[in-house]
Symmetry: C2
Subunit: 384 residues, 2 copies
């Protein structure tokens, strides 16, 4: 929402796919790109230096978790999120909507906001459009998000419509609260992204996009309510609708999507930014992304496999360690295993996005993505 | 045991304390120094690159654990321990004696060796002097250890004597097995250290030293059976006895000692090498070593403490992160907290040993160590 500090330029397109640069107060972000999730002000198991090495450009942190622990006031006192977690690149914080609405039995929604109980100590809490802006002002991320009403992927038209309309009304409150913060000089170098809801209903998505655009000309637009249980074909269809409805000269951020194939399919449909816990969660569970599909590193066949996780990968895990060693670390419950696999997986996603960007710039995105997806889907990762 | 590959030179002394250089096939080791413990071929939570950054020179791995998992044959097939775990500096493997004799109810000792049950699957195993040499040949560490009979710190004279004598007989068998390995061309660039036992009984220690020296002129000598429950005053007294009995021109390795104050006290009594899980175990439990004593990072007073763990420390944890952040990581069960604290603690010990070495070289070791110990013992770490 600040013309001065945030801009988006598009260097090339390939159909709906775009190669762009999103400029922030903490540096430029070449798009498309993947943002790792630092839920509790740390991308699980990884040091910020390792994220840099993995060419991570921008990361995400969770307002819900940081509000509960350590609390936004502590982070503000410590100089804000960038300094607290020693990440000097761009950061995006979500609004907590997704987490709160995931606490199915613990919440009550009203027009004013959502009451919930902390998953840590059961204490009663309340998020309003205004309070999530205040919390995110204290955290100090570059991009902050509106409070939205998230519903499951298969939600019917009536309920999805109600949630989408409420999200638009909450957006108006968030914009007003954000503007008041700007006037008071607090967190001036932040921008607010709206979140487009509407489930798997094309007409709802069109109406929501129109309503959001009527509120303000935002620096970027988030697409919420996907990858929450709906069919992949539904997600792709909605992305195609959304591509037509959102302004083409602003970055689009698809929330919560982070498997390699989904990233490529979504880039082909005009998405620029992604976040997901998938690479780190899969890493901690012993699953590596590879060009030939997922690889379970616990498999017995890897016991004496001297090859890297992925022979096409130049991450610091693959250039140094064997599958045999990583399997041993997982078999022995060693933390280094979680680290090496998490690092590989986040590197893998940033590398795919860089490769996609190059393909868009060089005019062969369609061929590259077709070949990449074919290899990923058709060949199980060799294991011995 | 190989004149060609291992040597020890002493650059300066200060009383019993020595500043030396122990040369190995994987590079020189400036002494005194501390070796981090990579029990299962990984120093818990840390990447070998971080150990280098912490100026770690040499590390230790455990034969017992690696024999059980993944098995020495896998490691041999993967090119040996250095390559398997990507540590290109010197490595020492223990013989498994300490671990096996810690399995109080699970073992049977005979003249031929010790039968025990795996702590992992209960399977029946047998370690003999010959078998631990064969295992360590397959692992390929620079320095390997004899099988010894370890007894608790308060063991009386008769039992301690029996164990010490058995350790000397096992040493003879280990030397013979080691020599056969050399003749066959396997693992030629390794050396074997004997382990001096004898509990807290000076006369036993003297006899054991004499017996060991009669077996062979070794490249270095380990001091076992200390820091196993005896009083600190007993440990220091035994180190003074041992200093007189072991050859002065060979490195002495005090096994299992790793608290800052013990390192300094032992250096003052002629010890050159140390290993211990203390820095990493304490780190994972939330305890930081500082110049002012131990600091429990979970303390509530640290919630908004912007200072580093130790203001005198230049490790990559202290130069970047606040106590408040590290406390948050521990409160939130985040792996990065374990990493940052483990890294700080191992760095702290290598830094103390470098500082001690400089003091020996510069002739002020007595004053430096007195001042260091005074500060460490007299002031609780400030917490707010």
């Amino acid at each position: 929402m600040s013309e001065r500090d945030f801009s988006f330029t598009i260097d090339a397109t390939a159909g709906a796919a775009r190669a762009g640069v999103f400029t922030t107060p903490h540096g430029p972000v070449e798009t498309p790109t993947f943002m790792a999730v630092g839920t509790q002000a740390t991308v699980k198991t990884l040091d910020p230096r390792e994220l840099r090495e993995a060419k991570m450009q921008m990361i995400l942190a969770n307002t819900y978790h940081l509000h509960l622990r350590p609390g936004e006031e502590i982070i503000r006192q410590m100089g804000g999120l960038h300094r607290f977690m020693q990440w000097d690149g761009p950061i995006l914080t979500d609004s907590g909507g997704f987490q709160v609405f995931s606490l199915e039995t613990l919440r009550t929604v009203t027009e004013e906001g959502v009451e919930f109980r902390s998953h840590i100590d059961g204490s009663r809490r309340f998020f309003s459009p205004e309070s999530v802006i205040a919390i995110q002002r204290a955290l100090g991320a570059d991009v902050i998000m509106q409070l939205d009403h998230v519903v499951p992927g298969q939600t019917g038209l009536a309920l999805a419509s109600e949630a989408s309309d409420r999200s638009v009304r909450w957006l108006e409150s968030c914009v007003a609260a954000f503007a008041r913060g700007q006037e008071s000089g607090v967190g001036g170098r932040q921008t607010l992204f709206p979140i487009l809801q509407g489930g798997i209903h094309p007409q709802l998505r069109r109406e929501a996009a129109s309503s959001i655009r009527a509120v303000h000309d935002f620096d970027g637009y988030a697409i919420g309510g996907l990858s929450v249980g709906e069919a992949k074909s539904d997600m792709y269809a909605i992305l195609e609708v959304v591509h037509e409805e959102l302004p083409k000269d602003r970055p689009r951020y698809l929330m919560g999507v982070g498997f390699p194939e989904d990233l490529i399919e979504a880039v082909a449909r005009g998405v620029d930014l992604f976040d997901c816990v998938a690479p780190t969660r899969n890493g901690r569970q012993g699953t590596a992304f590879t060009a030939d599909g997922k690889l379970n590193v616990r498999r017995a066949e890897l016991r004496a496999d001297a090859r890297p996780l992925d022979e096409t990968c130049d991450c610091s895990t693959c250039t140094r360690f064997s599958r045999a060693y990583i399997r041993h670390l997982f078999a022995s419950d060693e933390v280094l295993g979680l680290r090496l696999l998490s690092l590989h997986n986040v590197h893998f996603l940033t590398a795919i996005m860089r490769r996609a960007r190059r393909a868009i710039l060089e005019g062969d995105f369609a061929a590259w993505s077709r070949d990449w997806l074919h290899r990923y889907h058709s060949r199980p990762a060799p294991v011995s």
